[in-house]
């Protein structure tokens, strides 16, 4: 989830507006009608609204920020680092702040990463490889500078690397139509967990193929979750494939807040079952599997204490580390 500011006052150019409009179209296309936000609310909602949507209304016990900086589109960045971190300090039991980096900032960014890791107490990071920077419209996880950042992350105890590999906005032949760079990085950094957000969608199969071979590759259900409402059979296929190719310890819920609010997603997922006529292909999903996906897997990666009432008979384990 994120705390973003996409108001016109923060937009640097037409791309900033196009970006938030694209998000808003995702929101309008996949939300139940009762959960639709007015455009103005979507541009910026602030910390108080965030706490209400997640914790008062949304059944959430603990949430992890996954910020995208998008400095080429938004003057003060898209994700609001300072505001989010301040909120995390107010509610350390409820919120974890993940930060981001851009390896194209090279040595200067690397030094900043060291300072950020200490200041924010980072356990994880969100990498948006499609980020624009100067003439570049993206980078790969196995670029030489990327590796130096991952080495630093490993040394600094930033164990959980979330990577956006979703509907692509990265252009040209450097387009992220496969997740091959995750494959290489996961092999070379076995101590790190790579959570592939959007589980490779729109190229699920490329992701699954890699995740079967790399035990430290996890599936983040960002943007896959809301299909549970409009296309539950498609959602069943995604979950069914992930459970087949990976296992129940490596799949993680995401609300993508504020693209969607968690309340309805969680309600629908708790009630969700593989449709009967598909159960030949995909076995029914169990309550324990749902518990793991909804939070126990993330709790294991982030060392978040789990209240006894939520625990399983067999505790969830991170499969990778």
């Amino acid at each position: 989830m994120a705390l973003w500011d996409a108001r016109p006052s923060n937009q640097l150019n037409i791309h900033g507006q196009q970006f938030i409009d694209c998000f808003y179209d995702y929101h309008r296309n996949l939300s139940p009608e009762s959960e639709l936000w007015p455009y103005e609310d979507f541009l910026y909602y602030g910390g108080r609204r965030l706490m209400k949507d997640l914790f008062d209304d949304g059944y959430v016990d603990h949430a992890i920020f996954q910020p995208a900086h998008l400095g080429a589109f938004f003057g003060n960045g898209f994700g609001q680092a300072e505001e989010a971190f301040a909120l995390t300090r107010q509610h350390p039991d409820k919120l974890t702040y993940n930060h981001c980096w851009d390896p194209r900032l090279e040595q200067k960014g690397l030094e900043q990463l060291r300072r950020d890791a200490e200041r924010f107490g980072l356990k994880g990071a969100k990498l948006y490889t499609a980020e624009w920077h100067g003439d570049s419209r993206g980078y790969k996880l196995d670029d030489p500078w990327s590796y130096r950042y991952l080495e630093a992350a490993q040394e600094l105890g930033i164990r959980n690397i979330h990577i956006h590999k979703g509907p692509t906005i990265r252009p040209l032949d450097r387009d992220a139509f496969d997740v091959a760079d995750v494959d290489k990085a996961a092999s070379d950094f076995p101590e790190l967990n790579f959570v592939v957000e959007h589980c490779g969608l729109p190229r699920l199969e490329d992701f699954c193929w890699i995740a079967t071979q790399e035990p430290n590759v996890h599936a983040g259900l960002a943007v896959a979750m809301p299909f549970i409402h409009l296309r539950p059979r498609y959602f069943a296929q995604i979950i069914g494939e992930l459970l087949f190719w990976l296992d129940e310890n490596r799949i993680q819920f995401s609300s993508d807040y504020a693209l969607w609010t968690p309340r309805w997603l969680i309600e629908k997922f708790v009630d969700f079952q593989i449709p009967e006529d598909m159960q030949g292909e995909y076995p029914p999903i169990t309550v324990d599997q749902k518990k793991k996906i909804l939070g126990l897997n993330a709790a294991a990666l982030y060392d978040i204490p789990v209240p006894g009432r939520h625990a399983l008979a067999q505790p969830a384990q991170s499969a990778g580390v």
């Binding site: 037409i14 032949d173 969608l201 409009l230 296309r231 190719w245």
Partner: protein, 266 residues
């Protein structure tokens, strides 16, 4: 479907015919990732024939951040298909509301090609990209045809697909779709050719078949899922695009008794 139809004079009928022919030509242009014609997807916003045998076509996409290489590929394929029509003097293809609209439209107008349009960022040609998605389209078509066969004949095991040749497949839409995708990849289409093959046309060892079929299934699922997502996003972005969209011909997210008989593309 031409929402901005101009006031026309005597050449009305001839222009309408040219527009009709142009639309049919655009049926042959596919979104490589979704493996469907851009006309069915609703990506063609307008087709307009002018009295002097010129054509102007506007294309639109589900988001302004759709990958520029796909956008360029479809737009330039559209221009090629229209330019090849007999009796057309000039073709203008314009991509609307994309973050690279200006760049792409300038490149198309100047026939600058992919590298000429994008410069340093276009390191490779588009051929490799096309090949990747032709292979995916083939895997998906193969899974559709063989899964239909497995459903039809409960005695047939996945391992036994090793012995299935193209001639064993029923004369269905799924089979015809598979043959077309094999053709596009240069793979054999003889009745004696094995049906379950890899990207180069080699048959899989029997032991590998269940896993390979499973993988082909996730390829098919990805393509189908993307197609639904893109259709939905296009309608969200352009509510007037809904009547231009044809339903996806094979919907695997619908209950399973539907339509393995219908073709995926015309």
């Amino acid at each position: 479907m031409v929402t901005d139809a101009p006031a026309r004079g005597a050449c009305d009928a001839r222009a309408a015919t040219l527009e009709e022919r142009a639309r049919r030509a655009l049926d042959g242009v596919v979104d490589p990732e979704l493996d469907e014609p851009i006309t069915d997807l609703g990506f063609v916003r307008s087709v307009r024939a002018h009295g002097d045998h010129r054509l102007t076509v506007h294309l639109r996409l589900p988001t302004s951040f759709c990958s520029p290489n796909f956008a360029y590929l479809m737009a330039s394929d559209a221009k090629d298909a229209l330019t090849a029509l007999p009796g057309v003097a000039a073709v203008t293809v314009l991509l609307d509301d994309h973050h690279d609209s200006d760049l792409i439209n300038r490149g198309l107008a100047a026939d600058a090609g992919y590298r000429g349009t994008f410069g340093a960022e276009a390191q490779d040609s588009l051929d490799e990209l096309r090949l990747v998605f032709r292979r995916k389209a083939h895997a998906a078509a193969m899974e559709r045809a063989l899964t239909a066969l497995l459903r039809q004949d409960p005695a047939l095991t996945e391992e036994a697909l090793h012995g299935i040749v193209l001639g064993d497949l029923p004369a269905s839409g799924a089979t015809r779709a598979l043959l077309r995708r094999r053709e596009a990849l240069g793979l054999g289409t003889a009745p004696s050719d094995p049906a379950m093959v890899d990207d180069r046309g080699e048959a899989y060892p029997p032991g590998e078949i269940p896993l390979r079929l499973r993988f082909a299934r996730s390829v098919r699922l990805s393509i189908d899922g993307n197609a639904h997502f893109c259709r939905g996003l296009l309608r969200t972005r352009y509510p007037d695009s809904a009547p231009d969209q044809a339903p996806r011909r094979e919907d695997t997210t619908a209950p399973s008794h539907s339509s393995s008989e219908r073709e995926l593309t015309p």
